[in-house]
Structure formats: structure tokens, C-alpha cells
């Protein structure tokens, strides 16, 4: 028996070598570069520029989460009450973006949203606006790209929670005198809230670490934490501050995970019922 336990060894080994040691290394840098001490963390607390980035990160991530989960809820809802064919079609369109590179998707949005892009051309052609709207290379652009990226991640946990709401519960509600909206509000929504929580947590945590999409679509005007870390490390060669920011980002993710876990149970993360 004991010998088989060794077979699981590659997994903890990978975690230790691939994540734990590098993370400890980054923590070390943040406390030792350019010199030993807490000065990097002091800089984070003092610098208005860095705090702006952190708040912007939280704001964009929060907006991304709310908008993506709302859109995903509608998609999942449509899926829940679709025919077998309809379900397949919706699943296909939800999964399709997963097969496209994040980079290609960001560039596609750039083409669509820039000043002489399809969207602005159409709006001006229709006479709805006189000059192109600033849809990209700002926070709005970053938000649009991130929402598009996150919706499929939000749809999946919602599908699973909606599937678990039995038809007989909805029928029971209507037999007891509740109309469509009442049934939706009193039965369907409360029973799918755990799915909403799981989707929100997934999207928020993913968004915090987003790099490519906001970097390309934000055009430098909407730098988020991940982009700042890159700039500190690879453009300003300020490895200590970059490392300290990384630790802050990791702490934010950890706090989200713990809060979510306390709220609806850690089992939701792995797809088990809490």
C-alpha cells in the first residue's frame, strides 16, 4: 500500500518546485532588493501612483465581475430552458472563445473599437455620433476586453447550479399560485445564488491577475496591478518593488478565496456540493 502512495509524489513535488520555492524567492526579493528591509512595502503604502493602480485594479475587476456574471446569468438561464439542440448551440458558443488565443481576441477588439474601427464607423455612418467615441486604449476598452474574456468562465459554474434546480420545484411554485416572476425571484434565484457566488469569485480572482487584455486594450492609461509589476520589473528594473507588488496581488487573491470559502464553502471551488 505504502509504495503506491509514492505515485502521487510528482504533484506535491511540482507544487513545491514550481510554485512554493519561486514564491518564497519573490518574497525574498521583496524584502532584500535593493537592500534588506521593508522599504518596498513602505513605498507601496506611500506612493499615490501605486495606490491609484491598486484602486483602479479593484474597480475594474469589480465592474468586470458584475457585468460578466450578469451576462453569464442570462446565457445560463437561456440554456437551462432551451431544447437539447439549443443547449448544444449555446455550449458551443460559450466554449468557442476558449480555443482562440487571448492575444488574438484582444487584437480583434482593437480592430473593432479603435477610432476608425467598425463600431465607430457604423455609429458615424448612421449619424448617431459626430466624432468617434473613445472606446479603446482606456479603462472602457480594458473593461470590454476583460468582460468578453471572463463571460465563459462565469457561465460554467452557473450552468451547473441551474441544472441542479429541478423542474418539479418550478412546477410546485406555479401550482402554489406563483407567477413566472415570483417563481424566478422566490425559488430559482435563491437556489442559483451559490452558482452566482462561485462565478463571481472565479471571475474576480482571474481578473486580478489579468495582464495581456488590459495592457493591450487599456493602452497604458488603465494599467492594472499585473501590468505595473511587469513595468517595475522589466522596464524600470526595480525588482524589489515589483516583487512586493506581486506579494500584494497574491494576498488579495488569497483574501478573496478565503472570504468566498467562508461564504459558500470551499467545496464549490472543486465542483462538489458545499
Amino acid at each position: 500500500m505504502r509504495i503506491y502512495a509514492l505515485l502521487i509524489l510528482p504533484l506535491p513535488l511540482l507544487i513545491v518546485v514550481g510554485y512554493l520555492l519561486p514564491t518564497l524567492g519573490v518574497l525574498g526579493w521583496s524584502l532584500s532588493l535593493p537592500k534588506v528591509g521593508l522599504q518596498n512595502y513602505a513605498t507601496i503604502l506611500d506612493s499615490a501612483a501605486i495606490q491609484t493602480v491598486i484602486w483602479r485594479t479593484l474597480r475594474i475587476c469589480l465592474l468586470t465581475t458584475v457585468i460578466s456574471v450578469a451576462i453569464a446569468y442570462l446565457i445560463a438561464f437561456r440554456w437551462r430552458f432551451a431544447s437539447a439542440r439549443g443547449r448544444l448551440l449555446i455550449e458551443l458558443f460559450v466554449l468557442l472563445p476558449f480555443w482562440l488565443s487571448m492575444l488574438i481576441r484582444a487584437f480583434a477588439w482593437l480592430v473593432l473599437l479603435r477610432n476608425d474601427g467598425l463600431v465607430n464607423q457604423s455609429l458615424m455612418g448612421l449619424g448617431l455620433v459626430d466624432e468617434p467615441l473613445a472606446l479603446v486604449r482606456n479603462e472602457l476598452g480594458a473593461l470590454i476586453g476583460m468582460v468578453h474574456f471572463m463571460v465563459p468562465y462565469a457561465v460554467l459554474p452557473l450552468l451547473s447550479s441551474m441544472r441542479q434546480v429541478d423542474d418539479s420545484l418550478l412546477r410546485a411554485s406555479s401550482s402554489l399560485g406563483a407567477g413566472r416572476w415570483q417563481t424566478l425571484r422566490e425559488v430559482f434565484l435563491p437556489l442559483t445564488l451559490p452558482g452566482v457566488a462561485a462565478a463571481s469569485a472565479t471571475v474576480f480572482v482571474f481578473s486580478l491577475g489579468c495582464f495581456v487584455t488590459p495592457a493591450l486594450l487599456g493602452g497604458g492609461k488603465a494599467a492594472m496591478l499585473a501590468e505595473s509589476i511587469y513595468i517595475q520589473m522589466f522596464q524600470l528594473s526595480n525588482w524589489g518593488l515589483g516583487a512586493a507588488l506581486s506579494i500584494v496581488l497574491m494576498a488579495m487573491v488569497a483574501v478573496c478565496a478565503v472570504v468566498f470559502g467562508k461564504l459558500v464553502g470551499f467545496g464549490r471551488f472543486t465542483g462538489r456540493q458545499a
Binding site: 429541478d166 410546485a172 401550482s175 402554489l176 399560485g177 407567477g179
Partner: protein, 366 residues
């Protein structure tokens, strides 16, 4: 508009198809106010489809449903004001016992003080006093059943639809809940329409039983009528065990019918008024196992009966089932008391005289 008790809910030429599949054909059924009506049949017989259309969850492909003379065929379920008890109870898992029971009152915007009082009273009536704050998952199957009943009855619906509500319970609890259901039907005075595939349940509970088969209503009557005077071989077999003998040469003699089985005359005094079956059609004589007596071969020819070879004996405590076979390999089952004088001398392979009185044979033509 007619509001006589005979015409509380009328199902008129109701039919339902799912694509190519025919689930129900030409059902006309009048539900009387206050009765306990059971829709009985095997799975796929159309009984559940009928219930779903009554509840408003399914739309009939043809036909109409009237309630107090008014057409409710297209009325959505939430406006029908019928209570429904579901097979798996369908209790709301995110609500407590009291919140579940209060739900129909809440959606009807009843005042909170009124709701609390009515829910409290209902909890007492179904034997769940003091358990209002419980979580649904903390309840046993029988308790969940009571909550489902309480929830469906609290808004005082004129009609309660029950979709195999006892099928998830074990045998003992099922019998307990049968008594409970009968009590609640009497106490609340609500009309019950109950769907089941369990014939014992149907016979024990109902004022009337509607037997379904292959999407059609086969027979409608009191439990006694459908059991003692089944209208078809299907009904005879589905409601308990039946011996069926293929008979011919049916003729009328005075107050009785005579038919022949293996060129031996058999007398029938039940259903004598009915027209004689067509000479070219097939006919069967149906006799319940409990009406057949077992006698030594020496008695052969004494009254109505057939000679059959003993095959197998099953001891069941309260009685003994005996399986026999006629010379033309027709199985005969009978049920004798454990005190039967022949019981200890029965030998497999030996012929015996199986007889029944004239009023217990029943002629079937389909």
C-alpha cells in the same frame, strides 16, 4: 352554468401526443366534488399525463377541461388554484418547513400575522407542531410528505392532485400515510385526484378508480366494481390475480349464462343482462383465486369447476397459494386458508377438482 357536484371538473375528449407518441386518447371523465378519485395504471398508461394536464403543466393536444362549467384548458397552472403533491415532494430546499407551508399564502399576499396563524394551525393538523423552524433536509420521508400535503392544502384549493406521493416511502410508512391521506381527505373535504400504479393503494383509498392502459381509460367504477366486475382482461389482471379460461358456445338459460370449457359446461350468473358476445369473437371466464376452492378429484363434476394438476404450493402465513395446471396447460391459481382440510395431503402432480360458485365467474370479451 352547471355547478352540480357531478360536474365539478369535466375532462372532455382529452388527448395528448408527444411528437409521434400517443400518450392519451379520447378521455372523458367527470370528477365529482369531494370525491377521492384514483387514476390507476402501469407506467406509460396516460394517468400521469392526465394529472399534468389537470394541473396545467401540460397542454392537451385536443379536448377541453372544464371546472364548474368554465373552460380552463388554457389557464396557466398558477391561476388554476389546484394543489399539487409531487412524487419527490418538490419541497423548496432553501426554505424552512414553515416557510414552505407559508409559500402559497405569501404569493397571494396574505397579511403576515394571518399567515403565521394559519401555518401554525396547519402544522398542528398534519402532526408537525413545533417543527416549523426545521430545515427540510432534517425531516424524514414521512414528515416531508406531510409538509408537501400541508403546503398544497393551506390555500384551501377545491382540488388536490397527488402524483404517486407514496411511492418513495417504505412499505410500513406507506400504509401509515394511506391512513393519513384518507383522514385528511375526510377532514378537509377537498376533492382528491390521486395517481398511482399500486392497485392495493387504489382499492384501499378511493371512492372511484379510473383504470388506464395504453393511453385509454379502460374502466371507471368504485373499487368494488372494478375488482369484482372487471370490464377487460387487462383490468382483471392489473387489479389482483385472476384465472382466465378461454371459453366458447355461450348461450342464455333462464337467469344464467352457460359457456363451455373443454366441452364441460360452466355457469355464470353475473352480468347476465349484458348482450351475448359475438359467436366468432373470443371470450374468457375470469375467476379470482380466492373464490376457487380445492376439492378431491372424487368431487369432480360437482358444481362449476375444472380438473387441474397440482404444481406448486406457496405458504404465506395467512393463507396458502396453490398453482395448478389444467390438462390443456392453462394455469389455475387459487388461495386457500391454512386450515384447509386438503392442505397436508396435497401432492404435486396429482389432479384435483377446482370449483367456484356460479356468481363468482365473470365473462370477458376483450
Amino acid at each position: 352554468m352547471s355547478v352540480s357536484p357531478e360536474h365539478f371538473v369535466d375532462l372532455l375528449q382529452l388527448g395528448k401526443s408527444y411528437g409521434e407518441t400517443r400518450a392519451l386518447s379520447d378521455l372523458t371523465l367527470h370528477i365529482k366534488r369531494g370525491e377521492f378519485l384514483t387514476l390507476l395504471g402501469p407506467s406509460g398508461s396516460g394517468k400521469s399525463t392526465t394529472l399534468m394536464m389537470l394541473a396545467g403543466f401540460e397542454q392537451p393536444s385536443e379536448g377541453r377541461i372544464l371546472c364548474n362549467g368554465q373552460d380552463i384548458t388554457g389557464l396557466p397552472a398558477d391561476q388554476r388554484n389546484f394543489g399539487v403533491v409531487f412524487q419527490g415532494y418538490a419541497l423548496f430546499p432553501h426554505m424552512t418547513v414553515a416557510q414552505n407551508i407559508a409559500y402559497p399564502l405569501k404569493v397571494r399576499k396574505v397579511a403576515q400575522a394571518d399567515i403565521n396563524e394559519r401555518v401554525g394551525r396547519m402544522l398542528e393538523r398534519v402532526g408537525l407542531a413545533g417543527k416549523g423552524g426545521r430545515n427540510i433536509k432534517q425531516l424524514s420521508g414521512g414528515q416531508q410528505q406531510r409538509v408537501a400535503l400541508a403546503r398544497a392544502l393551506i390555500f384551501e384549493p377545491p382540488l388536490l392532485l397527488l402524483d404517486e406521493p407514496l411511492s418513495a416511502l417504505d412499505r410500513r410508512l406507506r400504509q401509515e400515510m394511506q391512513v393519513e391521506l384518507a383522514r385528511m381527505h375526510k377532514e378537509f373535504g377537498t376533492t382528491f385526484v390521486f395517481v398511482t400504479h399500486d392497485q392495493e393503494e387504489a382499492l384501499a383509498l378511493s371512492d372511484r378508480v379510473a383504470v388506464f392502459n395504453h393511453g385509454r381509460l379502460e374502466q371507471l367504477g368504485t373499487p368494488q366494481e372494478v375488482y369484482e366486475r372487471p370490464g377487460s382482461r387487462f383490468v382483471a389482471n392489473f387489479l389482483g390475480d385472476t384465472n382466465l379460461l378461454s371459453v366458447g358456445d355461450i348461450s342464455r338459460r333462464d337467469d344464467a349464462l352457460v359457456c363451455s370449457y373443454q366441452s364441460r359446461p360452466l355457469w355464470i350468473t353475473q352480468g347476465v343482462q349484458q348482450p351475448l358476445p359475438a359467436a366468432d369473437g373470443q371470450s374468457w371466464l375470469a375467476i379470482r383465486p380466492e373464490h376457487v376452492d380445492l376439492q378431491p378429484l372424487a368431487q369432480a363434476g360437482n358444481g362449476n369447476g375444472v380438473v387441474a394438476q397440482m404444481q406448486h404450493l406457496t405458504y404465506l402465513g395467512t393463507h396458502v397459494n396453490v398453482d395448478l395446471r389444467t390438462p390443456d396447460a392453462q394455469p389455475i391459481a387459487l388461495r386457500i386458508p391454512v386450515s384447509h382440510p386438503l392442505l397436508n395431503s396435497l401432492e404435486p402432480g396429482q389432479p384435483y377438482w377446482c370449483s367456484w360458485s356460479k356468481e363468482h365467474g365473470h365473462l370477458l370479451t376483450h
